[in-house]
């Protein structure tokens, strides 16, 4: 899930501090990861790309279009909402952010889970449980644009756009336009610029 959305629920806002990757960097990382996925799986056969609802959806379709154009194979793309599988239901507001739509049967498929940021690993744990309710993939791999550390579960990504050391209190905003490191501002007056949850980068 995009970190921005998670904090939007609690009324907090994001203030960007530094641009870590620009749009070109994100695109080149996507190209590289797409080629790594093809190399690792020796082609695109049986591949299904599944974006985690919220931030992973655009990443999955961006990867799929590169993989499809390189291999001349149509790679199916799905989306997965993990709200009902989270382990913090009841501790904070948890509502679905989008639909779960997987266009093909997952039995025997090689699923590449795609998310924008890998942080504690709890979303990935929830996604693995959700996937197992939908079928039995032959293998599940994990692709993330940014790995920011601070793992709380034994989760390891297979494909990483950028390893980004962060403080726990910081926030990383990832979009096709770039990656911005910033902070979560707890209390925001309505109408102020921080409330829009768009990254603003200090000049």
């Amino acid at each position: 899930m995009a970190e921005r959305e998670r904090h939007a629920n609690s009324g907090a806002a994001f203030r960007g501090r530094a641009v870590v990757m620009d749009a070109g960097d994100v695109q080149r990382a996507t190209w590289r990861i797409a080629h790594e996925v093809i190399e690792h799986n020796r082609g695109a056969e049986h591949l299904v790309l599944v974006g985690l609802q919220g931030g992973g959806v655009w990443f999955a379709s961006a990867l799929a279009s590169v993989i499809s154009s390189v291999t001349q194979a149509q790679v199916p793309v799905g989306t997965l909402d993990i709200a009902y599988y989270r382990d913090d239901i009841g501790m904070r507001p948890v509502l679905p952010v989008g639909a779960t739509e997987i266009p093909v049967a997952l039995d025997g498929a090689i699923v590449v889970l795609c998310d924008d940021v890998l942080f504690t690993g709890r979303s990935v744990r929830a996604a693995l449980n959700a996937l197992s309710d939908l079928g039995r993939p032959a293998a599940v791999q994990l692709a993330v644009m940014v790995d920011r550390g601070h793992r709380e579960l034994p989760v390891r990504p297979d494909f990483v756009g950028k390893n980004l050391p962060t403080r726990r209190s910081e926030m990383v905003d990832v979009s096709p336009q770039g990656v911005v490191l910033g902070d979560v501002i707890a209390a925001v007056e309505p109408g102020t610029s921080g409330g829009a949850l768009r990254p603003e980068v200090a000049k």
């Binding site: 629920n9 909402d81 709200a83 009902y84 599988y85 239901i89 009841g90 501790m91 904070r92 507001p93 948890v94 509502l95 679905p96 639909a99 779960t100 739509e101 449980n129 959700a130 309710d133 939908l134 079928g135």
Partner: protein, 324 residues
């Protein structure tokens, strides 16, 4: 504010109803999976506390709770210690002491779920869902009816409505025993909140003593109402609640107010026929109309499970404000 109980559909408002409907979409998707179950309410306990007969509502709530991985306890008034003289209050507090997170309450007296919510509030934080109280309200029925109308119209005719007023501009005719119907009360509130124009069609004896303040019109012209409505919502004659003679005969009711096969020809091509069940074929609605393509009666039942999953999840799981 995060709601704790669902006692009346009026508590939700248009925004709250729309939020339940949107959440229901996600549970409809869950219901279509090979394993139609999510772990969202693991460890929660839901008790169905039914003091009145029910098939679909009880099974629907229990299926909903199980599909959310909650534990379900079943209580039937007829086989309980009520028969030994235990009061309702003591029964409720006894069950609460076993550690229950939600009570799904049906009772033949209006106001019992609110009363139960009051007793529970003094001892803990369990939620109460009104599953039908007397002739008062049946909020989850209203929610599943709103869901069925809006999504069926979208599916069949591609009708995309604005939000939150997803029933904006629709004409709904509610036909039958309005006087004894909790479904009619909840549905009038919900349909009107979502922008529909509601017409109540019934013999004068089967209207409530006063419909003043109801956001609905009253008519005794069945044919006229059927010809112009987008939704024909039929109600059962609730003989079990009739304390006096309201009708000369059931046959006369069928002839004057029933949706017979001949009357069904008055319906427009896009009109949906609905009924909260149990249906008594041949009385308020003809058998062939129940089974006709314009009938969405079984769709209502199917959507009921997903709507109740949404309600239980909002009350017990989400921690999210509703209708904010």
């Amino acid at each position: 504010m995060t709601p704790r109980h669902l006692l009346s559909v009026a508590d939700l408002g248009a925004l709250g109803i729309d939020e339940v409907l949107r959440l229901t979409d996600s549970f409809v998707e869950v219901g279509a999976r090979p394993i139609p179950k999510v772990p969202a309410l693991r460890g929660k306990t839901v008790v169905s506390l039914f003091f009145e007969d029910s098939t679909r509502t009880r099974l629907s709530f229990e299926a909903a709770a199980r599909r959310l991985s909650a534990d379900v306890m079943t209580f039937a008034g007829s086989s309980s210690s009520l028969n030994k003289g235990e009061s309702l209050r003591d029964t409720v507090l006894t069950i609460e002491a076993m550690g229950v997170d939600a009570f799904v309450v049906r009772h033949s007296c209006g106001g019992v779920p609110a009363q139960v919510a009051g007793w529970l509030g003094a001892v803990g934080d369990a939620s109460v869902v009104n599953a039908g109280d007397g002739a008062h309200e049946h909020p989850t029925q209203a929610l599943l009816d709103c869901y069925t109308i809006s999504r069926e119209r979208e599916r069949r005719f591609g009708a995309k409505a604005g939000r939150p007023q997803v029933l904006s501009g629709l004409q709904v005719a509610i036909i039958g025993d309005i006087r004894h119907s909790r479904v009619a009360r909840s549905n009038v509130i919900a349909f009107a909140a979502l922008g529909a124009s509601v017409t109540l069609v019934a013999p004068p004896t089967l209207l409530p003593p006063s419909v003043q303040g109801w956001p609905a019109e009253v008519s005794h012209d069945v044919d006229g109402a059927l010809a112009k409505c987008d939704v024909a919502y039929l109600l059962r004659l609730q003989n079990e609640r009739m304390t006096e003679q309201f009708l000369p005969s059931v046959r006369e009711y069928t002839a004057l107010y029933g949706l017979t096969a001949e009357r069904a020809r008055l319906l427009g091509p896009s009109t949906l026929v609905m009924h909260p069940g149990p249906v008594r074929r041949g009385i308020e609605i003809a058998a062939e109309v129940v089974d006709s393509p314009s009938s969405v009666i079984t769709t209502q039942v199917a959507n009921g499970v997903a709507v109740r999953m949404a309600v239980l999840y909002l009350l017990l799981g989400s921690g999210a404000p509703v209708g904010a």
